[in-house]
């Protein structure tokens, strides 16, 4: 029997779906790039199929399949696929001035919610109970939504400091609606800031079904090729989680795209501290690697017009990529925003098409050597000056991304990597690794498993010590639950953020533990 040592990674991007197979030594065995289809299953099945057809890939040797996708958020644009959620907030009579989901667009709110309630209970900033948990009100609410609720989101005031009321409410849900109705608890999702944490918790509850259907899509694609592999799902910190964990925390999948490409860039280039530019078909993302992982954004994130508390990789986006349509005759010369998307090989000038794109400009400027048609001298003259604009905007984005760091190495990945030339300000050296065009799929394929936990405590040495231990234990447990090998989990990051203008000096301690997949 052949050794079973292959891992498959798929990253579904906006324009292209990339997929790779790597072996036990994390060497690339095979890669494909296919256009992303409107229906989720199409491009995943196609990519897996083409990999399985590759003579270097023995499908029976594949043991793990990792999927990264932006689709978790796409669902919100057309919210018919989301679960119907009952929203339970614990904290009355406080908080009534802004009821749950008050900041959601009506359409999304109607699609997601079967009802909201605010009941008495919750905690004070120091963890003491603010009042008794109003069990009867919870029971009445659950009676009302029973039958309609496909999930329950629970957010209690100051639950990141004291989660007891959320846990007690979860017990009541379980007793009354049964174990089959999934419950999302806000203290497991976010930190202080009730509305943003509650919003993320509701979104999480709504996306449980998306996680399930993603799993089914992947399962079908694998089964069709005779691949019997355990599925993992990419999350937004550059690591993956097992199915069971993804079903509980689907919201963590949002933003995995940039994380995957940055992790892939780090792996392919060997650069662990530096900047990464990912040039796609219509957009370019600039981010920063710290110890091989994407640096998280310091701010809450807006998704579907709602502010949510979870941390995405910090990415500075530029609205152009390899397929972006340009007009050098305009004054000033126009770059985008239209893109030929995945039709570059039909429409770009260098492929004999009629549309001038940034890829044509890259060829005109001697940065790339692709295509089947020579550009006319007039086109070369007109197009190459556009690269100066591109360089200026890239240098600006890199400068903002790298922050106070001195000049950094720059890794360029993605299908349009030919657009980027050496000599940008703030960059020590430019690395365009081999297989850069499938970096995001490689990032998924090599990803370890992680768990993260937060604790808030008074800013005193002994309290900090205790909170660090508690957070570490919780992060370990979550990493193992997410699928990490219990014997090889390590704390990779401890972050302590003092909280401004809390009553007592307080600090939030966040611990991240990472390990290889068990």
């Amino acid at each position: 029997m052949p050794e079973r040592d292959l891992h498959l990674g798929v990253d579904v991007g906006a324009t292209y779906t990339d997929a790779v197979v790597i072996d036990g030594r994390r060497q690339l065995v095979a890669k494909v790039k296919v256009p992303t289809t409107p229906k989720l299953g199409g491009s995943i099945a196609e990519a897996v199929h083409r990999l399985a057809q590759d003579p270097r890939v023995d499908p029976t040797r594949v043991t793990r399949a990792m999927l990264g996708t932006t689709r978790a958020t796409d669902v919100l644009a057309e919210p018919s696929g989301v679960k119907r959620v009952a929203v339970l907030r614990i904290g009355g009579p406080s908080t009534l001035a802004v009821p749950p989901l008050a900041t959601w667009p009506d359409g999304l709110r109607g699609a997601v919610s079967v009802g909201e309630v605010v009941v008495g209970g919750g905690a004070e900033y120091d963890g003491r109970a603010a009042g008794a948990l109003d069990v009867e009100a919870i029971e009445r609410f659950l009676d009302r939504v029973a039958g309609d609720a496909q999930g329950v989101a629970i957010a209690g005031v100051f639950s990141p400091v004291a989660p007891d009321h959320e846990l007690a409410a979860a017990e009541i849900v379980c007793r009354q609606l049964g174990r089959a109705v999934p419950v999302s608890l806000s203290h497991e999702i976010g930190s202080v800031g009730l509305l943003e944490r509650e919003n993320a918790t509701v979104l999480n509850a709504a996306l449980v079904g998306v996680a399930r259907s993603l799993a089914a899509v992947l399962d079908r694609a694998l089964a069709a090729e005779g691949i019997d592999a355990e599925p993992f799902f990419a999350q937004n910190d550059g690591t993956v989680m097992a199915l069971e964990h993804a079903l509980r925390f689907p919201v963590l999948m949002i933003g995995s795209g940039p994380a995957n490409s940055m992790r892939g860039a780090a792996y392919l280039s060997g650069v662990v501290n530096g900047a990464v530019v990912d040039v796609g078909g219509s957009t370019t993302n600039v981010g920063v690697l710290v110890h091989g992982y994407p640096r998280p954004s310091p701010r809450a994130t807006d998704i579907a017009g709602v502010r949510m508390d979870f941390r995405m990789p910090e990415v500075f986006g530029l609205p152009f990529g390899g397929g972006t349509v340009v007009d050098p005759q305009a004054d000033p010369p126009a770059i985008g925003p239209a893109s030929v998307g995945d039709r570059l090989a039909q429409e770009a000038l260098v492929f004999g098409g009629e549309t001038a794109t940034l890829t044509d400009a890259a060829v005109a400027g001697g940065r790339a050597d692709i295509g089947s048609h020579r550009l006319s001298a007039a086109h070369r003259r007109a197009l190459s000056p556009l690269l100066e604009i591109v360089d200026e905007r890239l240098a600006d984005a890199i400068d903002r991304a790298k922050g106070a760091l001195p000049a950094v190495p720059l890794v360029v990945v993605g299908g349009g990597s030919g657009l980027v030339a050496p000599g940008l300000a703030g960059v020590t050296n430019l690395v365009v690794p081999a297989d850069a065009e499938v970096a995001s799929a490689i990032g998924v394929a090599i990803a370890p498993v992680s768990g993260q936990a937060d604790r808030i405590c008074p800013n005193r040495p002994e309290e900090r010590e205790r909170a660090r231990e508690e957070a570490s234990r919780a992060a370990f447990a979550r990493a193992i639950h997410a699928g990490a090998d219990p014997d090889a989990v390590d704390v990779v990051e401890v972050e302590e953020v003092p909280l401004t203008s809390m009553v007592d000096p307080a600090v939030r301690i966040r611990v991240r533990a990472v390990g290889p997949r068990s």
Binding site: V98, A130, G131, L194, R400, T500, V503, P505
Partner: protein
């Protein structure tokens, strides 16, 4: 002037500008206010002449930790509780509420409270900008007593504070807020309309609205220019943030930042010192602007004001300076809210009239 869904976002934005980097995020207050006017109708903003002389004006807002209010969000009924308690204590009717601080979160918060009890807001505040202290109030300068100060958590608890002198107000009010769960709605410096005439900064809400409206103009650069004009100020520098240093000291954010001018010729550097708010701007040893004048940092790509806690390396910014309220530029005002009140050993020089030899 009436506040409703059409102009509240502009008021909130104006409050953020007047926060000069501090004062807290008005977003939550805006969300509340929009809900309140949708449900209870618009809020009238009136000049002092429109109110009966013997009725009371209630300056109000948040006391305590804004981050607690972002978690234990308001009930909404705080204004009613404060109004009822003040009427009971003072034995006369309340004619209007007023923000005690027009800046940041406190500027917009009383809109919700006023909407829900059908009272107008006096077009005024106690600061004309953001300040950290409860005695940096126009009412204090005018000799109005901060007591009796009423605090409530809208959970059935209220505390009334009588202080022997104004230096005790801060301490007592903050410990009362701490016992109410870290944050409280407060009414302080309550006064008759007759007394309020000479004891408040007039036109504050109109000003916030005008500033917010100015920021509706076209491109980011146009917004910065329009805002500068509306403030009657000058652009100190346009460039990028070269470094930022911040620390938390006794519950407030302190630090400094350096802005480097854009372009390659004749590099200039402007240093900003911050204590919750941007308080002093120094270039080549010369104070370009100092508290109580306003120092606003705006994002070059959007024209939006940037809070001190969100200023980051390499951000492209425009720094504006504008005259602070006249009250604070007087000798008495400067003693309470001038550079020396914040520990800066520099003489106050009004924006535009620059002083040499800063030792900031």
């Amino acid at each position: 002037m009436r506040l409703d869904a059409s102009n509240l976002p502009a008021v909130a934005r104006g409050c953020a500008v007047l926060g000069t980097g501090g004062g807290g995020d008005p977003d939550l207050g805006l969300t509340m206010a929009l809900r309140a006017v949708a449900e209870y109708g618009p809020v009238d903003v009136v000049p002092i002449e429109a109110l009966p002389d013997e009725a009371l004006v209630v300056p109000c807002g948040l006391i305590g930790a804004p981050s607690v209010a972002s978690e234990r969000i308001w009930n909404g009924d705080e204004g009613r509780i404060l109004r009822n308690e003040v009427e009971r204590l003072r034995g006369r009717g309340v004619a209007a509420l007023m923000p005690y601080e027009i800046a940041g979160a406190n500027g917009i918060l009383p809109v919700t409270w006023a909407a829900r009890i059908g009272l107008p807001l006096l077009d005024a505040d106690g600061m004309g900008r953001a300040f950290p202290g409860l005695r940096q109030q126009a009412m204090h300068v005018a000799g109005i007593d901060a007591s009796p100060l009423v605090l409530t958590d809208a959970r059935g608890n209220a505390v009334v504070v009588y202080a022997s002198e104004v230096s005790q107000v801060e301490r007592l009010a903050r410990s009362a807020a701490a016992s109410l769960g870290g944050v409280a709605a407060a009414a302080l410096y309550c006064m008759t309309v007759r007394d309020a005439g000479g004891a408040v900064v007039h036109g504050s809400l109109s000003r916030a609205l005008a500033l917010g409206e100015a920021m509706r103009a076209g491109s980011a650069a146009e917004r910065v220019a329009a805002l500068c004009q509306a403030l009657g100020g000058t652009v100190l520098i346009e460039g990028k943030v070269l470094d930022v240093e911040r620390r938390i000291d006794a519950g407030s954010l302190k630090g400094s930042a350096t802005i480097q001018s854009a372009g390659h010729a004749g590099l200039r550097h402007l240093r900003l010192e911050l204590q919750n708010e941007f308080l002093i701007a120094v270039e080549d040893g010369v104070v370009r602007a100092v508290v109580p004048d306003l120092i606003c940092v705006l994002a070059s790509d959007s024209g939006e004001p940037i809070a001190t806690e969100w200023l980051r390396y390499a951000q492209r910014v425009s720094v504006l300076a504008a005259p602070g309220p006249a009250l604070w530029r007087s000798a008495g005002g400067l003693a309470l809210a001038g550079p020396s009140a914040f520990g800066y050993d520099v003489a106050y020089a009004p924006v535009g009239h620059e002083a040499a030899d800063a030792r900031a």
